[in-house]
Symmetry: C2
Subunit: 274 residues, 2 copies
């Protein structure tokens, strides 16, 4: 393990770059620009160009593991070699949405924190505390729990009312916030539910929230910033496809930069308003 | 995709073998018998021996993906080459406990159903319907949803009471059973909660249930069979470490067979009682 970014360092990065942007490296070999070959080396070349063009504008990169597992045997190699290209002061999230019991959770923690060397991993809370604590035990690493996701299916269970009057995702926040602290735990909260931020901030006023769906999935940046941001930043706002597939020609990386810059500018304006 | 086992074929296997046994190939490179090297070829040699010695006693094999991902780059290769060693009429479960939204779920489905060619994948229900339907769309393949897990943390959310009077895991069963059918959906239900089987069978009388934890985790076979089995079998009962690490010497595979045979005998006795 070499990558460690503390809460304090993350906040410093956010203030320095005037950005809460997380770039989602959801790289699909089939969607690479046409001039690149369909092989694992091209995936790395593509990711390298995106990283070079966006690293001064974002504070985090997120690798959705599904895109890499879809490459079969090459998947882990591509993830690992991508992580190596990311500067050490930029936060790396393995968006794995894993869940498993005790000793098995420990194996996932080893894989993602040690072998892959990510700063953080996303986890599903359904299996409860003992599926999460093996991750929290890694000093200097972070866990990011799914609370309220941005998809239609969030309505099936996450927003259902419990007997005690709370909503399931609120119960997840309230129960799990005691397992770790705002120094090693973040939450995934869907950007399309800006109304919900008030509910969320009442329960976890200081925790960082990872907000997906500001790009292709249609969340509103200004609304998210107004409702979710704290004095420390408090948000990582993710955009994936809208940045990495902004262009499809040889200029794909500079097109990606333009899109990242647009989002960073929106964030900077919101910073100034605060 | 080549592996397809229908509900009817699975029931035939169970009746023919008088077994509902699922052997968990949770192979940890560090725990291989001492005479084997610590490399990916040894993992395959180990799995091959276990499969050869148990394939007439079990109806399914389950690969917990965490154990393979902990091998880094070699993980997917080891999983894929293990699946190839399993006879086509034996059910293969990728115990991945994945969860993700629409297009990303589709990538996981492609990876596990096409590239790995598993018959089934385990999934976490927290993200709702649109995280599950991309899997259900694969004709001839199965999804296995976490309902009630056997770990301590199941109490944190799964067994909490909802406003409508149901318990969360019952709501998961009731809501999700309409997404697919008993021909393409199973549920994970923890063996240590035999009382709960009556509740579960009221909601899903015909669905197959994957019951973990009969071996090392301490469930009671007779109780599970009495409470959970149906006329069609209706259960896949998993044991992992208690079988594959039954011996630690050169006779590890025949020791594994003895343990599998013991469990199969218990099941056979329960069949006769029915």
């Amino acid at each position: 393990m070499q990558r460690f970014i503390s809460r304090k360092e993350l906040i410093q990065q956010i203030k320095k770059k005037k950005s809460m942007l997380c770039v989602g490296l959801d790289t699909d070999m089939q969607k690479l620009p046409i001039h690149l070959a369909r092989n694992r080396k091209s995936v790395i070349d593509f990711n390298r160009s995106i990283i070079e063009q966006t690293q001064d504008l974002c504070v985090a990169y997120k690798l959705n593991t599904a895109f890499y597992e879809a490459m079969g045997e090459d998947g882990w190699w591509c993830m690992k070699n991508t992580v190596k290209l990311i500067p050490e002061d930029v936060f790396v999230i393995a968006d794995a949405k894993r869940a498993d019991v005790g000793n098995t959770a420990g194996l996932y923690a080893r894989a993602f924190y040690e072998d892959l060397d990510a700063n953080a991993i996303t986890l599903s809370p359904y299996m409860g505390k003992d599926s999460i604590t093996p991750f929290l035990e890694y000093e200097g690493k972070w866990t990011i729990l799914l609370a309220l996701t941005s998809n239609e299916g969030a309505k099936d269970f996450q927003t259902k009312r419990m007997k005690d009057g709370s909503i399931l995702y609120e119960k997840v926040l309230r129960t799990s916030k005691g397992w770790g602290s705002s120094h090693n735990t973040m939450y995934v909260t869907g950007a399309t539910k800006a109304d919900a931020f008030n509910r969320i901030r009442k329960i976890v006023p200081e925790h960082f929230l990872l907000v997906p769906g500001v790009g292709s999935q249609g969340g509103n940046m200004a609304e998210v910033m107004a409702n979710g941001a704290t004095n420390d930043g408090g948000l990582l706002i993710n955009a994936s496809r809208s940045i990495i597939y902004s262009g499809s020609g040889k200029d794909f990386a500079s097109e990606a930069r333009k899109e990242a810059l647009k989002l960073q500018n929106e964030m900077q304006s919101a910073f100034i308003k605060q």
